[in-house]
């Protein structure tokens, strides 16, 4: 095709490589999920079978984690460069919760974590499905990393919008995360090895959602101390990420 070839810069390679890696990881995740679905779980299964399931689930978790990060990086890049097709539509929160929990379930099962959920079937909210889905899945995976054995997902109507919360019964968020109100300034924490990407992404996504003079936001809290932004009661004692969408 006689198109004028623009000079390739590094970001072009980065983008196309991310796409390529994402495709591979999607395939890998699908294979692993398939493998898990096909391994029998009946009582009396052999010990090595259980071990195989656990390892497979762990591999699936790692694949999903990297995949999520790549999706977040791509979305952030597009938002930054003003070509993310932000598209809020009216969506079922129950569908969102179902699909997010399904993503987290194989890992929860293998780690023996109890996943619970509370969400009315007839609750609808306005949001960009893919972005919010990414935030919820990431929050669930994080919670499973820090929890003792319970993770709770809740969606409920709140004043002029919806509130989605992900709670765990682990030690809670470290103080420095709670102190800094704005996730955009949290940056990289070299002590914990956290890049802060997940929270940054959640914050950017929340901020994109605006209606009636209100802007979406995330709030981190610990230990069943509901703040002003939490009309919904707490269920678990650990960390809690609240996402408010107007």
């Amino acid at each position: 095709m006689p198109t004028e070839q623009p000079k390739l810069d590094l970001s072009t390679f980065l983008l196309s490589s991310i796409h390529d890696m994402k495709n591979s990881l999607s395939m890998m995740a699908s294979y692993l999920e398939d493998a898990l679905a096909q391994t029998p779980t009946e009582a009396g299964e052999q010990a090595n079978n259980t071990l195989a399931r656990q390892k497979t689930a762990q591999a699936l978790y790692e694949a999903q984690r990297v995949n999520n990060h790549l999706i977040q990086l791509l979305a952030l890049y597009k938002i930054d460069q003003s070509f993310y097709p932000f598209d809020p539509t009216e969506q079922s929160l129950a569908d969102l919760a179902r699909e997010a929990l399904a993503r987290a379930m194989p890992l929860a099962e293998s780690k023996g974590i109890q996943l619970d959920c509370e969400c009315p079937e007839n609750l609808f909210g306005w949001f960009d499905y893919d972005l919010v889905f990414g935030v919820i899945v990431q929050a669930l995976l994080n919670a499973m990393n820090y929890t003792c054995n319970k993770v709770f997902l809740k969606a409920a109507p709140c004043e002029a919008g919806v509130l989605i919360q992900i709670e765990d019964d682990g030690p809670g968020y470290p103080e420095f995360l709670l102190d800094q109100g704005n996730a955009l300034q949290r940056g990289i924490c070299f002590e914990t090895g956290s890049t802060g990407l997940g929270l940054y992404f959640a914050d950017v996504v929340a901020n994109l959602h605006q209606a009636g003079g209100r802007t979406g936001r995330i709030v981190l809290t610990n230990g069943g101390k509901p703040g002003d932004d939490q009309p919904v009661g707490r269920h678990l004692s650990g960390g809690c990420l609240s996402l408010f969408l107007p």
């Binding site: 495709n23 003003s82 932000f86 079922s92 619970d116 959920c117």
Partner: protein, 547 residues
């Protein structure tokens, strides 16, 4: 433990097409579907085999990857399938992609997939989307049928009926209602819905709808203001960029128009119509190099798709001629003949447009013999030739002394556009340049007068109650000037009046509808098109007008 589980859909009775270039992914999707008891699964690895499968069988569910390697995208296949009515009304089209793409969220009810899935696809995700969409499409099928029959009012009525009972897809339906209102000329109804949506939140589709209303009503400054609100923040909304470019042209700012098109092309370059538009604007601005590349791109991208047309080839040949690249121009014309081999008008144009090239090369004898050989064909087909081609051909024909062919072409052009002073002026100036000012004046005046006369005679006959005679007159006139918007609307008006008196007639109904649709394309600001569509649809129907 409450995990909101829903039972998997039962797909045992559904026929399913998987369009995916990657074998591994095809197998994964098939295996998931098999777990929902699906047995009738067909797989296609590329666009060509997908289209031939869609031609053979009315699938209930289509899972289609957006990016299929080289060539056509999933979006191209969807649009072709909808355009050619290859899908049953209840069909669910799920677009699968590695990331959210602009194509998925813009466009009209005709070009949007029912839903899109971002990889990796999990069983729960696929099942919950399928369940929801199958249920939704079952409810929407009667609306889809009405849409295909172009019964927009009926479709509007059906949408309203579904909106009454607390529908979970309320805003999908309202968006559809607004689009239907636009199609049936119910501008105020559409405006109300778009305003309601915008009061709720800043929704790009609602703002775009509002801008379309302004554009159709000729309020270009208002359209431009709304569109800039969409495009300034984000270059992913391609349709808004395209409309903004047309709006800026109307506002007399081709520089800004070109900038906007190029911005949209930077996001999505594989769009033949956008490339064509860039070529036209660049040509208008005298930026020949840009125009040349854009027309070439448009031709390459549209080849083997339903979007291909003579327009890009003719424009490219004209630019090449202006740049003195006569070999290239001849080459372009011969490619036009090859690529559009089923189209007789394209064949005629591929030969005829060699005349200016040959003349430019000093091959006067060759030009003359071409002109003489093609004279009859050109005269017969005159009313179907694109205006730019006629203008580019007329001067060389006059220079060769082929005055009767030139007069037939320009006369036909003028009667098709008798209310377009700019065209009359261009025709006159071609004659003046050829030293035939007087002949030009006579031709332009008589052709314009002939068109007006027919209109007046038609109106007179219909006032006298001689509808049959009036219809005969306008029908004959339409054959001679098929692109005259006023005539088309007059003819449709007469056909409708006849049917209102004598009852609905399928052939007349189609004839009237075709006239109105074409007139609307030629003259979108004319409100009569919408009014006539409404009257046409009400013939023999007992549903009420939407409030």
């Amino acid at each position: 433990m409450n995990l909101l589980t829903i039972p998997p859909p039962n797909l045992s009775r559904n026929s399913i097409l998987i369009i995916e270039d990657f074998e591994g992914m095809r197998v994964i999707l098939r295996d998931i579907l098999t777990r929902a008891s699906a047995t009738r699964i067909v797989m296609a690895a590329n666009a060509g085999s997908a289209i031939s499968q869609l031609e053979k069988h009315p699938f209930d569910i289509i899972l289609c990857d957006l990016h299929l390697g080289q060539g056509k995208t999933g979006q191209d296949i969807l649009e072709e399938a909808r355009h050619r009515a290859l899908l049953p009304p209840h069909a669910v089209w799920l677009m699968v992609s590695a990331e959210k793409a602009a194509e998925m969220v813009t466009g009209t009810v005709e070009s949007r997939p029912d839903d899109y899935l971002i990889k990796p696809i999990t069983e729960t995700m696929l099942f919950s989307r399928l369940t929801r969409q199958l249920e939704k499409k079952r409810a929407l099928a009667p609306i889809e049928v009405a849409l295909r029959e172009h019964e927009y009012l009926k479709a509007l009525r059906l949408v309203e009926a579904q909106l009454d009972d607390n529908n979970p897809h309320a805003w999908d339906l309202k968006r559809m209602k607004a689009e239907l209102a636009l199609l049936s000329g119910e501008n105020e109804l559409a405006r109300t819905i778009y305003q309601e949506a915008l009061n709720l939140r800043n929704l790009p589709w609602a703002r775009l709808g509002l801008a379309k209303l302004h554009f159709n009503e000729g309020h270009y400054a208002d359209a431009s203001r709304e569109l800039k609100q969409i495009t300034d923040g984000n270059r992913a909304y391609l349709e808004a960029h395209d409309l903004l470019a047309y709006t800026l042209e109307k506002l007399g700012d081709p520089d800004a128009a070109q900038e906007v098109i190029q911005r949209a092309l930077a996001t999505s370059p594989r769009a033949p119509l956008r490339q064509l538009h860039l070529g036209e604007v660049a040509l208008h601005r005298g930026e020949l190099g840009t125009a040349l590349t854009a027309f070439q791109n448009s031709i390459e991208l549209a080849r083997n798709t339903p979007l291909k047309s003579s327009q890009a080839y003719l424009a490219l040949a004209q630019v090449q001629l202006t740049l003195n690249q006569t070999d290239a121009a001849l080459n372009t014309l011969s490619r036009l003949a090859t690529d559009m081999h089923g189209d007789s008008t394209a064949q005629l144009l591929a030969e005829a447009m060699q005349i200016p090239v040959r003349l430019h090369r000093g091959e006067k004898d060759l030009a003359l013999s071409l002109a003489q050989n093609l004279a009859t064909g050109l005269k017969i087909d005159a009313q179907h030739l694109p205006t730019e081609a006629v203008f580019n051909l007329a001067a060389p024909l006059l220079a060769l002394g082929e005055t009767s062919t030139a007069a037939a072409l320009l006369g036909s052009l003028i009667s098709n556009h008798h209310e377009h002073p700019e065209f009359l002026q261009r025709a006159q100036s071609i004659y003046t340049h050829a030293g035939l000012e007087h002949e030009g004046r006579t031709l332009v005046e008589s052709a314009a007068r002939a068109a007006t006369d027919i209109m007046n005679r038609g109106v007179k006959l219909s006032r006298e109650g001689k509808l049959g005679e009036a219809i005969k007159l306008t029908r004959e006139a339409r054959a001679k000037m098929p692109n005259n918007a006023r005539l088309l609307l007059n003819h449709a008006f007469l056909l409708i009046a006849w049917m209102e008196r004598h009852g609905r007639d399928t052939a007349l109904n189609t004839e009237a509808r075709n006239c109105i649709e074409l007139a609307r394309k030629l003259k979108p600001q004319d409100k009569r098109a919408g009014e006539l569509l409404t009257r046409l649809e009400l013939i023999g129907n007992d549903f009420e007008l939407p409030a």
